[in-house]
Amino acid sequence: MTALTPNGPSATRGGSVGSDTPVMTVDGVSAVFGHGPRRKTVLHGVDLALLRGRTLGLVGESGSGKSTLAKVMVGLVRPVGGRVLLDDTDVTRWRGRAELFTRRRQVQLIPQDPYASLNPRMTVGETIAEAIDPRRGGATRHRNAVERRLAQVALGADAANRYPHEFSGGQRQRIAIARALAVEPALIIADEITSALDCSVRAEVLNVLTALRRDLGLTMLFISHDLAVVRHVSDDVAVMRHGRLVEVGTAADVFGAPREPYTRLLLSAGSPGAR
């Protein structure tokens, strides 16, 4: 499979600071679930580079291995082959508690379901404070930092004292984004974060992401099965099928002039009005 070769700074858009330095490089990663007769390979030697300041959209059907790849990058799934390089060190070999702690804080995952991803018994302030300092985090100790993070996702300071059930789905998803930002990670992985949301609310979350990409120069892996959404937020796009990367390129190239038949199939299926 081809590694991602960006078209240089000219391909970047929306004021985001693109560069050629990869934050994370996935190098020939394979992953397997189950054992014995039920053994199933879900990733076949995937190569991917996430470049600093750019957003890579990852599309594919359910079961194509998108979420598994995300879990490998976060460290929730251990690959059977290949390397995951974070600033040129292979993090798949990290075992020690301190190393794992560092790795976990370098890569943050925003999960899909905004109703399951926030602890119902903790205030929003406590949740974000815990992200800032997972050992001794407290809402009062980190008040200023918490409020700054909330402001970044367009929520007021009073949100800190409230519980997740007082917020709508879109607001909760923004809180989850604020929590991920609070860690100041090198890479954010957003796994289907808009698919559980209504369209007016989805726009709200997408706008927050757009603003963050512009203001903070986020590096992000944006996973979604909704091609229109991926097109909206991504600089580059990778298409996945049966655990392999089928096509990788800039958003304009992949959506404008897809090379692979499978990408064309996805595009025609995802395009409204394709009769």
Binding site: P37, S64, L265, S268
Partner: protein, 348 residues
């Protein structure tokens, strides 16, 4: 994009749905049958139960404070008698040797000899277990045949907040009966039905009608508990999407509730019922004392007071195996009703 492109692209990339499980036909290998894994796991479970039970019952003698030989020989025994008793019981050997002896005896069907009556424990159990099993199994039958329909009927009658009074009455009545220990219920039955009304015999097992009161006493509490569980489970099942789909087909009530709701209900209910039924076995032991029922219960209570360990050991072992088999039976029934339970994945 025109439809032709879609069709072409589909032809290029093969089947549209990659996740499609393979052909549904073809001979299945025995190893892949869910029953195989089920049998393996249950076998492991049964072996585990046996091991734990044998270990525990053996430990009973070991962990007894004081000298088992003294207890066995009686209070007035001379030191010589105690020494001889210790030798007879094999207590002068090492613990490992004692355990080997114990297990060897079990394999030959030898459960030891009563300290007090010097009967063989296996004979005592063979003599009395049928009475206890009769009581417990009839009790189980009553619990399932009365409790499940009762709970379901109440749930159906009170669905969507109808008939709140019936619902409240049901909750209160089952709550009161469920909080009444079975021996109090038994005594009440003796007093009212047996003595005041004189309809049924109150003690012994001489005639068939002597069974009625003990069975009711054993079953009444669990009937209430299971009826409440079924009532709650039914309410949950009735709210499920597939029940709405079934209502959309405008099925007659019996088909809707018996064919569509009942199997889904039983999965949750039977899982709890398994525990309840082994509890019922314990209840039977207590109830036997109320009705002077000649089962293992009355005998084991006597043995405990006299600290006649071999009898207690034997009964604990046999009832434990019975409880285990009962649970196995329920799991098999569950597997037949809902094959998903076989793989160990809980049906949600």
């Amino acid at each position: 994009m025109p439809a032709a492109v879609l069709e072409d692209a589909a032809a290029d990339v093969g089947p549209v749905e990659p996740e499609e499980p393979g052909p549904a036909t073809g001979p299945r290998r025995v190893l892949e049958s869910p029953w195989f894994g089920f049998a393996l796991r249950r076998l492991f479970g049964v072996v585990l139960v046996l091991a734990v039970l044998v270990g525990l019952t053996f430990c009973m003698v070991q962990s007894m404070p004081g000298d088992p030989a003294r207890v066995a020989a009686g209070n007035n025994a001379t030191p010589e008698q105690i020494t001889r008793m210790r030798h007879d019981l094999g207590l002068d050997h090492s613990v490992a040797a004692q355990f080997g002896h114990y297990v060897g005896g079990l394999l030959r069907g030898d459960l030891g000899t009563s300290y007090t009556t010097e009967e063989k424990v296996s004979d005592i159990i063979a003599d009395r277990l049928p009475y206890t099993s009769e009581l417990a199994l009839l009790g189980i039958l009553v619990v399932l045949l009365v409790g499940v329909p009762l709970g379901m009927a109440v749930a159906v009658a009170c669905r969507d907040g109808r008939r709140r009074h019936l619902d409240g009455g049901f909750t209160l009545a089952t709550g009161i009966i469920g909080s009444t220990p079975e021996y109090i219920l038994g005594t009440l039955l003796v007093l009212v039905v047996g003595i005041e009304l004189g309809w049924l015999p109150v003690a012994g097992a001489a005639t068939a009608d002597a069974l009625v009161l003990p069975v009711i006493a054993v079953a009444l509490g669990p009937v209430c508990t299971i009826a409440r569980i079924v009532r709650r489970e039914t309410a949950v099942v009735l709210a499920r999407d597939y029940m709405r789909a079934a209502r959309g087909r405008r099925l007659p009530a019996h088909r809707l509730y018996l064919r569509h709701a009942l199997p889904n209900l039983l999965t949750g209910t039977l899982t709890v019922a398994g525990l309840l039924l082994t509890g019922l076995l314990g209840g039977a032991v207590v109830i036997e004392s109320v009705f002077a029922w000649p089962g293992v219960g009355t005998r084991v209570v006597e043995a405990v007071t006299l600290r006649d360990l071999p009898v207690v050991q034997g009964v604990v072992l046999v009832l434990g195996i019975l409880a285990c088999l009962l649970n196995l039976l329920i799991d098999v029934v569950l597997g037949l009703l809902d094959p998903r339970t076989l793989t160990g994945r809980a049906a949600s």
